[in-house]
């Protein structure tokens, strides 16, 4: 046992030694310790340097509010983690931690120089100073600030750990396993409600679990003993789930909450076993009870940041829970009674302690208790200075004036090796406000407390402003019974003894004989902002708390101002002479404590990041060496390289084969919507720009769909299968959106239409065979069918059978070639495909991918919605006037086609581009200009599609150019990084303008 481990407690197993390493030095602690308690048991207080001035800093607290003891864990492993609070990480064998903000070492560091030049680093210093010269920012200021800021290192390797998400519904969720959370859980669970209790520590009971004092008794037992029995009973209840090591991250509306359960962070590296590290609980609760407790406030006085200055209740927790004394000659500086519990506890263990109280008196039982034990109390006094470099060694105190605005009399010096500080308590209202709750200001102890209106959410215990033991028990019991509308409770007849506090005094910034400008009275320890900074911000004209916060960076560190926000508000109110309640608070945003990215994404990583859709022919593509491209969630064959062909070579070969003999494309991914109903034709009339009523059964037609603003939205071929039955195809990427849009119109604008839409994209597989030999191939597959142009003309469809399986053959073409598409039930997609390949062998049928498909259609000047259009192109812009019906009274987008904006002649319009050098291929997306000498250069359009066409033996491109319709033959320039490419505007149909090939 080290000399600071003075006490044996239930929560530390002193038979189990745990060795760990901090800043390169080996230490020992015990099972049950946190890193902080283990360091303190070794007498280590100094754990880091402050952010701006690099002042030595020590452990302040014992919980999530810790501003100073911020560590990098397990550096040099792929599990390394920055910003870990030493007060929260449970000690395990082999833990390696290093203080984060102290390059090159915690005991000597270069940034310490800032401490001496600190008069020159006031609030907003960074904003003011590093503004100029501009060139200095990137090379000098930023690297300097970053290096000395030391905000930890993120891991560089992929995270090897697993993370999990779990959804849960419950009747009642209780957040916080302290005394009021335990009372609430027991009442809820015993009344047959499905209850869940979450607690961020590994032990239930909050601060009551180590409260063993004559003045605090429940049913005649010490409160710690009473709560231990309650916890034991609680664990036996069936309909209560208790989750410890689980911290609430966010409280969203409608009682939807996120909580992170830590499953393996407290285990040694070799015992994690590749299991789950964190589990994110997604909880939907009928009722939520917030019992998150309160955080002790520090006091703001000169040099209040030395190592060894700690929160009073944390000193008590280290002593009574961990068995560690933070000092042997303690001073306690307080404005309230709670610090006297710490004093009594120290004194009872024979440890020296003195009290400095800013109040003039207090006659409560706990104060009497301390006095009777012989604790020296300095009433009406304040600490004006502290001394000691790496750890506090003494303090200077003075008396306060009557109104507390000044100090009077002589200074006296008191030696101490630990100064425990208590400035009262701040209810943790973060979750209440996250959920949308408002706050009221309570003058008597200067606290913001929840203002409750939500019938499905309440706050109980000290997070609701109840700080006295009796109030906590009685009020929690009554509130929970009302809230849950139950009558059953074990706590109705609890007898409680406690020490009531009657005397209160609060001074946000304690006065000093030293002038304000020379005092270092810290408010935000982590961001190093002082009372002086706040006052400077006010003098410089900042008024809103949100602005002062950002200007001084108060409350903006990783602790989110848990210890500093109230003091900042108080000092602003006092300085500006306004009531604190009128200032409002800054916004509390989730997460309450930092959350790992792993917990947020859960299992949605790697191949589970997004859904992958594959056609039934996918395996064949893989076996035949296809390279794939992502189209939405689909994997589509991009090209099929043979013998290490490049993309270019493969596409040249594939597209030549498709025009010279036969090509085959897996077109299964095109969206397919089955449309049925007596008004199906009328419906198509309304959603497409062209007319549909006269389309014969068995015929196909190309349709263009607009948005209501007149811009092209989607296109595809629709086939009339029967009198009241159509099959619509959409683009691969647009399928889901088209279906949604059509449903929207059907349900909300035209409910009178008798039309039913069904997505059948996945139901059918499609093999598309094109080329002059495609008819011969089809004849081989369907020997009974007549494929003569008269019997089976272009833009028609017929039913057929392969080995008794029904299929549909559409004679449609997206390449300009003679072309057939065979649709078959997806189950048979692969066998259909293989049959086509077999039948096509003698014609050297060539599978081609999306790249060749794009090239073939570009040769014919067919657009691809989404490539040649971008949501700003009307059919008129695309020179597709032919497909816009003049006769139809209305269709979606019609009215917009003659708005003043859409009839402008200088809109971007679709054109063809030919490069003067036929071998020069333009880059898609490249800008187009007409006059390169006029400055600034006006960009009049851009290239949308560009290829080298093997069939035309030259480069071709589609582009959209302002006023392009009238520019045929005009010379334009495509400026690139190192050259200007000369191009000529041409017709955008490059091949077979007469449409002869579809009947070849």
């Amino acid at each position: 046992m080290t000399k600071y481990r003075v006490n044996k407690t239930k929560y530390i197993d002193q038979t189990k030694t745990v060795s760990f390493n901090f800043d390169g030095k080996s230490y020992h602690g015990f099972e049950g310790d946190t890193l902080a308690s283990a360091l303190l048991s070794n007498g280590v207080h100094l754990v880091g340097r402050s952010f701006k001035y690099h002042r030595p800093r020590g452990i302040v607290s014992s919980g999530c509010e810790e501003p100073n003891a911020i560590c990098q864990i397990n550096e040099d492993t792929d599990l390394t983690e920055p910003n870990v609070r030493a007060t929260e990480i449970e000690l395990y064998e082999g833990l390696k931690a290093s203080s984060q903000n102290c390059w090159p070492s915690v005991n000597f560091d270069i940034g310490g120089i800032n401490n001496f030049i600190s008069p020159f680093i006031p609030a907003g210093f960074y904003y003011k100073t590093f503004m100029w010269p501009k060139s200095f920012w990137k090379k000098i200021y930023e690297p300097l600030i970053r290096m000395s800021a030391g905000l930890g290192k993120s891991p560089t390797k992929p995270d090897p750990e697993l993370y999990d998400h779990k959804h849960v519904h419950c009747d009642v969720l209780i957040i916080g396993g302290g005394i009021s959370g335990i009372i609430a859980s027991k009442i809820a669970a015993k009344n047959n409600l499905k209850t869940m209790l979450i607690e961020d520590k590994n032990v239930l009971g909050g601060s009551t679990i180590f409260q063993k004092n004559e003045n605090y008794k429940i049913n005649n037992k010490y409160s710690s003993e009473w709560i231990e029995e309650e916890i034991a009973e609680l664990k036996k209840l069936d309909n209560l789930t208790i989750k410890t090591r689980t911290s609430l991250a966010a409280y969203h509306s409608y009682n939807y909450l996120l909580a992170k359960e830590n499953i393996s962070d407290h285990l040694p590296l070799d015992k994690k076993n590749g299991g789950i590290r964190h589990r994110l609980w997604k909880i939907r609760a009928d009722k939520v009870i917030v019992a998150t407790g309160a955080i002790e406030r520090p006091l703001v006085f000169n040099n209040n940041d030395r190592p060894g200055i700690m929160l009073s209740n944390s000193v008590k927790k280290y002593l009574d829970f961990y068995g560690v004394s933070c000092g042997f000659n303690n001073a306690i500086f307080t404005n309230n009674d709670s610090a006297y519990e710490t004093a009594v506890s120290l004194k009872e263990k024979g440890i020296s302690v003195k009290l400095i109280d800013i109040r003039k008196k207090s006659n409560s039982k706990i104060v009497k208790n301390a006095e009777n034990l012989g604790v020296k109390i300095y009433w009406n006094s304040t600490v004006v200075n502290t001394f000691g470099h790496r750890k506090i060694n003494s303090i200077e105190i003075m008396n306060l004036s009557e109104d507390g605005s000044n100090v009077v009399g002589d200074k006296s010096r008191i030696n101490c090796d630990c100064l425990a500080v208590s400035g009262g308590w701040t209810p943790m209202v973060h979750l209440h406000t996250q959920s949308g709750g408002k706050l009221d200001f309570r003058e008597i102890d200067q606290t913001f407390i929840p203002n409750e209106i939500d019938k499905n959410h309440i706050n109980v215990g000290s997070c609701n402003g109840d700080f006295e033991l009796e109030d906590i028990i009685k009020n929690t019991n009554n509130k929970i019974k009302n809230f849950l509308k139950v009558s059953e409770s074990d706590f109705d007849s609890c007898s409680v003894i406690d020490s009531k506090e009657f005397d209160k005094r609060n001074i946000w910034l304690l006065p000093n004989y030293i002038s304000e400008g020379k005092c270092k009275s810290f408010i935000d320890f982590q961001n190093d902002s002082t009372a002086k900074d706040i006052k400077l911000a006010l003098r410089e004209g900042f008024k809103s708390i949100e602005h002062v916060k950002r200007y001084t960076t108060t409350g903006m560190a990783t602790d989110q101002g848990k210890l500093s926000n109230m003091h900042a508000l108080g000092i602003i109110a006092d300085t500006a002479g306004v009531k604190m309640g009128t200032l409002g608070t800054t916004t509390f945003r989730p997460p309450f404590t930092p959350l790992t990215f792993g917990a947020i994404v859960g299992r949605s990583v790697g191949k589970f990041f997004d859904v992958i859709r594959k056609t039934s022919i996918h395996e064949w593509h893989i076996q035949n060496g296809a390279k794939f491209e992502n189209v939405g969630q689909w994997k589509r064959p991009w090209y099929y390289p043979i013998n290490n062909e490049t993309l270019h070579d493969a596409v040249q070969r594939e597209s030549k084969a498709a025009r010279d003999s036969a090509g085959i494309l897996d077109a299964s991914t095109l969206g397919k919507i089955d449309i049925q109903g007596t008004d199906a034709s009328e419906f198509l009339n309304r959603v497409y720009t062209n007319a549909w009523s006269k389309l014969g059964i068995g015929k196909c037609r190309y349709g263009l769909m607009l948005n209501e603003d007149g811009m092209v939205y989607d296109d595809g071929v629709t086939t009339r299968l029967g009198e009241n039955h159509y099959l619509m195809t959409t683009t691969t990427g647009g399928a889901a959106n088209v279906l949604s849009k059509l449903e929207d119109y059907l349900q909300t604008e035209w409910p009178e239409l008798d039309v039913y839409l069904t997505s059948v994209t996945d139901h059918y597989s499609t093999a598309s065979i094109c080329g002059p030999n495609s008819k011969k191939i089809l004849t081989k597959i369907f020997p009974d069918k007549d494929f003569n142009d008269d019997a089976f003309p272009h833009m028609s469809y017929q039913n057929a059978k392969i080995n008794g399986i029904n299929c549909r053959i559409m004679r449609i073409s997206f390449t300009g070639e003679l072309s057939y598409e065979i649709n078959i039930d997806s189950k048979y997609g692969m066998s259909l495909w293989e049959k086509c390949i077999e039948a096509g062998k003698e014609f050297k049928i060539t599978p081609y991918g999306t790249e060749t498909m794009h090239l073939l259609r570009a040769e014919k000047g067919f657009i691809i919605v989404g490539q040649d259009t971008d949501g700003t192109m009307t059919p008129i812009d695309l020179q597709m006037d032919w497909i816009v019906s003049k006769k139809k009274y209305d269709f979606i987008g019609k009215r917009s086609l003659y708005r003043s904006d859409t009839i402008r002649e200088d809109r971007k319009q679709l054109v063809g581009l030919l490069t003067d050098d036929p071998n020069e291929v333009l880059e898609e997306g490249a800008q187009i200009v007409s006059d390169i000498n006029k400055k600034p250069i006006e960009m009049i359009g851009h290239v949308t599609s560009s290829y080298f066409s093997p069939n035309l033996n030259k480069s071709i491109a589609l582009a959209v150019v302002k006023g392009g319709k009238k520019m045929n033959g005009q010379k334009l320039i495509v400026p690139m990084e190192n050259k200007n490419i000369n191009v000529t505007v041409s017709n955008f149909i490059f091949l077979d303008k007469e449409n002869k090939r579809i009947n070849a």
Partner: protein, 91 residues
């Protein structure tokens, strides 16, 4: 993340739904009769209220049905949900 009581399916998580903007904007029956300004009023103008707003919602990852909702955009309280074609509740 609110809970939405789909009139066809019951209470479901918000993630199953998508919002389709302001409700009760009827597509003009005779668009061709409208001036540019009148058409623009239908096409582009939306109120975007801070407070109680009438909205269209779609149970997109569920029954795919559209319905209307009265929601306070300042606190996400849902005051009413009713089917398409039904009269909005009077405020």
């Amino acid at each position: 993340m609110f809970l939405i009581n789909c009139p066809y399916c019951g209470e479901r998580d918000q993630s199953e739904f998508s919002c389709g903007g302001e409700a009760h904007i009827v597509r003009p029956k005779q668009p061709t009769e409208l001036s540019d300004d009148q058409w623009a009023e239908y096409l582009f103008m939306r109120k975007n209220i801070k407070g109680v707003q009438f909205e269209r919602w779609n149970h997109v990852h569920g029954c795919r049905k559209w319905f209307n909702m009265v929601r306070d955009t300042s606190n996400d309280k849902i005051h009413a949900i009713y089917k398409m074609g039904e009269k909005p509740p009077v405020e």
